[in-house]
């Protein structure tokens, strides 16, 4: 990053290449569509360039700083006005009556994903950083600009809500499976 601050294009390319997949996965987890993640990730990496002078080695680890940029962009993106009728259009359901174990798992997965998307943005971000990026509670806090206990509080509330949905969905899916 020090080289990027000297306008070293190759250093910037190296950073982009090294973190692109990881940062894309975070954005994809928080945003509903691939194309949303594309826009936000591109914008976040541009901010790395345009705000290069605001990063200092003593203030935050580069990865923390980068995560913070992308997460703020994701939250801004979600707040933008959208055509909700289009956003809420769902894929047509697969109606094949095949309740085998894979379908049972898929139903659970879908129920969990759907519930996850309905959580408040802060909880979604905390989950993405903790479960998909492998950050600790303290690191989640650092990225989100929160204390460790506040970050862990977000994770706790998210688990409480998802767990309830997960348990109900498991029962429903199992019943459907058994009926068949």
């Amino acid at each position: 990053m020090l080289r990027v601050q000297q306008e070293d294009v190759e250093a910037y390319r190296e950073i982009t290449r090294r973190y692109l997949k990881r940062i894309y996965a975070v954005a994809r987890r928080i945003l509903p569509h691939d194309y949303d993640a594309d826009d936000v990730v591109q914008d976040a990496f541009l901010r790395v360039w345009s705000h290069r002078d605001s990063w200092s080695p003593g203030a935050a680890r580069f990865t923390t700083w980068l995560h913070r940029i992308v997460i703020n962009r994701c939250i801004d993106y979600r707040r933008r006005p959208v055509d909700t009728s289009l956003e809420e259009t769902e894929e047509p359901a697969d109606e094949r009556p095949d309740f085998d174990q894979a379908i049972f798992q898929k139903q659970l997965h879908e129920a969990l994903n759907s519930a996850r998307k309905r959580l408040p943005p802060g909880q979604q971000v905390a989950l993405a950083l903790y479960y998909n990026q492998g950050l600790t509670g303290a690191e989640v806090g650092a990225v989100m600009g929160l204390s460790q206990s506040a970050a862990e509080g977000l994770l706790k509330r998210a688990r409480q809500q998802l767990r309830s949905v997960f348990a109900k969905s498991a029962i429903r899916a199992r019943d459907a499976f058994d009926d068949h």
Partner: protein, 102 residues
């Protein structure tokens, strides 16, 4: 602690720390492990949490950025760099115009 209190404490810890028992507070762990050994329902809830966490963790592992995204980022960065240089050049010219004549 009554059975009901133990159940609530167990649930609270389960949601606070997830299903990995090694991350649970040391001082609470022995009593809760005893409870876990005694209660089928507690074991079921623990397994359910682990299963849910596993799904939360593996869902988008295969999310790959589009192949051209890196090129698009670099292209946009070059545009930005050109604009920065142009702005700096304009600022320099303004400074030159206002500088006192020697």
């Amino acid at each position: 602690m009554t059975i009901e209190e133990m159940r609530l404490a167990f649930d609270d810890l389960l949601c606070s720390h997830g299903g990995n028992l090694r991350t649970w507070p040391d001082d609470m762990r022995p009593a809760l492990l005893r409870y876990l050994r005694q209660s089928f329902d507690a074991r079921r809830r623990l397994m359910e949490m682990r299963r849910m966490e596993s799904m939360l963790g593996d869902d988008l592992d295969d999310a790959e950025p589009p192949v051209d995204l890196e090129d698009r980022i670099m292209g946009a960065m070059f545009d930005l760099m050109a604009r920065e240089k142009s702005t700096r050049a304009k600022q320099k010219m303004q400074v030159d115009f206002t500088a006192p004549l020697k």
